[in-house]
């Protein structure tokens, strides 16, 4: 999914056009997850655990929706369209030092790994939180009753450790975004806000937007699933 981009290519600058790259649900999910993780972090550090739970549920909803959207969503959100094998990834890595490599419609081969690792780590943080036991029993996860005290404390520690891992992964993600902005002159943040990217006219690929009803249907199912989890399956 490569299209000629703006990465330092002055000749192409005259024939730039704006291309739609990200659909609204993908962008909304990205930024809601950013906010949810931020709130989880702050509330966890400041002992506001009731709100920590709510933010965690929002994060769970977004992660599940993003996975769902990765199968039935718009073309750039679909895993099948951006997850690549090791060969493609290594090939891409070898071109990383070049400033005028073509921009990718959607995630590049390396960004795909970032998406998968971020989603997997965030999901692991949330799942361990669901089973975590608060030693004072005030703010245990909703599924903590399915584990005993010691197991629940094990989940609590891993919840904390995995969040530290998530912070490292996020830091790497931000470094990569900064690298693309400073070195390759590609503003990935702006694209994730506006959904658009400037590319050369020669581009043949277009974003295939999935219908809204598909997102709405997934939202209903995922909302129900998250609600059931929050009740500890005692609904």
């Amino acid at each position: 999914m490569s299209v000629p981009g703006v990465g330092g290519d002055q000749k192409a600058a005259s024939s730039l056009r704006t291309l739609r790259v990200w659909d609204s649900p993908t962008r909304a999910m990205h930024w809601v997850l950013v906010i949810a993780i931020g709130v989880c972090w702050w509330t966890g550090e400041n002992d506001e655990l009731e709100y920590h739970h709510y933010a965690g549920y929002v994060a769970l909803w977004v992660i599940l929706m993003r996975v769902y959207w990765g199968f039935v969503g718009s073309s750039t959100a679909k895993f099948a369209n951006f997850v690549r094998g090791p060969q493609t990834v290594f090939k891409y890595v070898r071109t990383l030092h070049l400033r005028n490599t073509p921009a990718t419609l959607g995630h590049n081969a390396l960004g795909a790994i970032s998406v998968l690792v971020l989603l997997a780590t965030a999901l692991a943080v949330v799942v361990t939180g669901l089973f975590a036991v608060d030693i004072d029993v005030l703010y245990s996860g909703p599924l903590s009753m399915y584990v005993d005290f010691r197991e629940g404390r094990w989940f609590a520690r891993w919840h904390s450790t995995l969040f530290d891992v998530l912070l490292v992964v996020i830091a790497l993600h931000l470094l990569a975004v900064a690298f693309y902005y400073a070195y390759k002159r590609q503003n990935l943040v702006a694209s994730m806000i506006t959904g658009r990217r400037k590319v050369a006219e020669a581009s043949g690929e277009e974003l295939q937007v999935a219908p809204v009803w598909r997102f709405a249907a997934g939202a209903v199912i995922v909302s129900a699933a998250v609600w059931v989890v929050t009740t500890g399956f005692f609904y």
């Binding site: 002992d47 004072d136 005290f149």
Partner: protein, 164 residues
Amino acid sequence: MPSSVFTRVAGIALVLSVTATAIVTAAPADVAMIKSRQDKLRDMGSALKQIDDELKRRSPDWDNVIQPNVQILHDRSPFLQKWFPKGSGPEAGAKTYALPAIWQKGDDFAKHARGMIAEAAKLEQVFAKKDASELRAQVIALGKTCKGCHDDYRSPDYEKDAEQ
């Protein structure tokens, strides 16, 4: 060896032997106390959890699950303060999350302990009514007394330590 030097050497040897004896004799008891109180406090946390978990069920098992755990909390809480004798802090040499503030602010720690004893006693009284929502509220009240103490007198390292 001149007598003054001999006296000095003998004095140092005596001090060292007394110190060594103190370490050898005092430390195991303090270390055992630390281990013992950690086990007991973990049991109490587990008891509170089991009550809380059971109360989430549609038909809680009052006699086989809730009652014995209420008993554990009620019976053990009066001994809370005794589990923290002087010398059983970090200076004992065993891993403990008990902060020196426990002994530095003994009166405040005792106040926390009395609060917990009162709430544990109330837990038993409320249990007798077998009203799930009322008992749940009391579980939370008791949990808050645990948290009050943990916030002030337990090291934050506890949350991340794999050996707790």
